[in-house]
């Protein structure tokens, strides 16, 4: 009992310490969360969850306003961030598209127009096929696709985005060939697969969970270095943790994950970057965040500073290689 009291006291002290700001910079007016997707998109959910956690735990003293700028696959939001040079009251939420978009489209911003703050999670990608498809594992599906090149269809959201990049990587690694059909978002790709109009998609867990629960689609493997965290069974006694990684399944592909990233405009004070990184780190330690991660079957991974810049450099290089091979690079 005494031990418990001490432990509780220590925890309380650390909470109090956490509330007292470590950095010298503080927001002086309302903070704008700029979301690089439309309402209801993956990045929108990400930003709004962070907003709700910040509000609940009062992690930022000033009010937080969410602003959707999803035009041009999110480029609109980043260009808005570029225009707000030096303004530390604008925080841009995105994915790896922050540094990948300028490769594939002529856009009015560069990565150097943004200051990296942190990444909070990695979203996962899986190969999904129809629930009643005759393939029991990834290997069988790839072989079938190889046997009839150009007749299997892969659904994804948009062109030259993560889904098509991953499809290109799989094609490169296995020699199979798909017809890639770009839809408006992962939700549409999920229904198209459930309706049997395409043969597979590479959706994130959250985009296909509803269809998996109903047995309309099934996952073959996950493009993650390790298996996903264990979960309650979702369909037929299987949960997220029971899905083999694609490497286990015999696909010569290491990993493909999408970071959920947070940025500030260029030329903001270093203290401001530290302040937001600190806030985001606190967010990533709340039970609400853990619950969100578990429900959407993402991988929790907080990164800031050097770790983040290294991750970005590595991810950028791997994707840029695919873009070059596919002839997507515009500049």
């Amino acid at each position: 009992m005494k031990h418990f009291c001490i432990a509780a006291g220590a925890a309380l002290a650390s909470v109090i310490a956490a509330v007292v700001p470590a950095a010298a910079w503080q927001p002086t007016k309302s903070v704008e969360f700029v979301v690089t997707s439309g309402p209801g998109g993956g990045t929108d959910n990400f930003a709004r969850i962070v907003q709700s956690i910040i509000a609940k735990h009062k992690l930022i003293e000033q009010p937080v306003v969410v602003l959707n700028k999803g035009g041009g696959s999110g480029a609109e939001g980043y260009i808005y961030g570029k225009g707000a040079k030096g303004d530390a009251h604008k925080v841009v939420f995105g994915t790896n598209n922050a540094y990948l978009l300028p490769y594939v489209a002529k856009l009015g911003y560069k990565l150097s127009d943004l200051t990296p703050v942190s990444a909070l999670a990695l979203d996962e990608f899986l190969i999904w096929v129809k629930g009643d498809a005759p393939f029991s594992d990834a290997k069988a599906y790839i072989e079938a696709a190889k046997a009839k090149p150009g007749s299997f269809k892969m659904a994804g959201s948009q062109s030259k985005d993560t889904d098509q990049t991953l499809t290109a990587m799989i094609q490169e690694a296995t020699g199979a060939k798909w017809i890639y059909v770009p839809f408006q978002g992962g939700g549409a790709a999920a229904t198209q697969l459930a309706g049997g109009h395409v043969d597979s998609n590479t959706n994130n867990p959250n985009e296909n969970i509803g269809q998996w629960k109903a047995g309309q689609v099934k996952p073959l493997c996950v493009f993650s270095p390790v298996r996903l965290a264990k979960s309650d069974p979702i369909h037929d006694g299987k949960g997220w943790g029971d899905i083999p990684t694609c490497k286990e399944a015999g696909l010569p592909l290491e990993a493909f994950q999408m970071p959920r990233t947070v940025w500030l405009p260029a030329e903001v004070p270093a203290d401001a970057v530290a302040y937001y990184a600190d806030v985001m780190e606190k967010v990533s330690k709340t039970p609400e965040w853990a619950e969100f991660i578990a429900r959407t079957a993402q991988t929790a991974r907080f990164m800031k500073g050097k770790e983040l810049t290294e991750f970005v450099a590595k991810d950028e290089a791997a994707n840029a290689k695919v873009f070059k091979n596919e002839g997507w690079v515009v500049n």
Binding site: S30, P63, V65, I179
Partner: protein, 162 residues
């Protein structure tokens, strides 16, 4: 005074120009048909072409009817009196836009409403100012405070610290 004929031709020339802008912009992305259907530029290209052709058609038929002595075309499109009325509404509106961009929307709103009521509606200063301030306050509290939607702000808001 502008005749209907002049207005028809001027508008058709403007849409013709718009059509060319679209056609020119679309060419960059390929306008043909490849193995996976139309190329990205094809759809806008043909839309632009259609605009241009239909505009030319409008010009041709308008000129044709004019030569045929159509009475409708000789009629007045906008007489002096009408022109004055439209401009008396349009110019303050334009001023409102310019002021919005330079001084912020709330200040522009205030000036515009006072001007329209006091000098165009010939209301007294008191009702004019009261209505203008009331409207501005309504939008300020409704949008900025309640709904947390920000409007364009200028130097005045900055000095007031809003």
């Amino acid at each position: 005074m502008i005749s209907r004929f002049q207005a028809e031709i001027a508008t058709a020339l403007a849409t013709l120009a718009f059509g060319f802008v679209i056609v020119n912009g679309a060419r960059e992305f390929g306008i043909g048909w490849d193995s996976s259907g139309p190329q990205p530029g094809a759809f806008p290209f043909y839309c632009g072409l259609l605009i241009a052709l239909a505009s030319l058609g409008t010009i041709a038929t308008t000129v044709g009817r004019r030569m045929g002595g159509s009475a409708a075309l000789a009629r007045v499109f906008l007489d002096k009196e009408q022109g004055k009325r439209v401009l008396s509404f349009f110019l303050p509106m334009l001023a409102f836009v310019v002021l919005s961009v330079t001084l912020g929307m709330y200040v522009a709103m205030l000036l515009y409403l006072v001007f329209a009521m006091r000098f165009q509606g010939r209301y007294g200063w008191l009702p004019s100012l009261a209505t203008a301030f009331g409207t501005v306050a309504f939008f300020y509290f409704g949008l900025e405070k309640f709904a947390q939607v920000g409007l364009l702000k200028g130097p005045v808001e900055a000095t007031l610290g809003l």
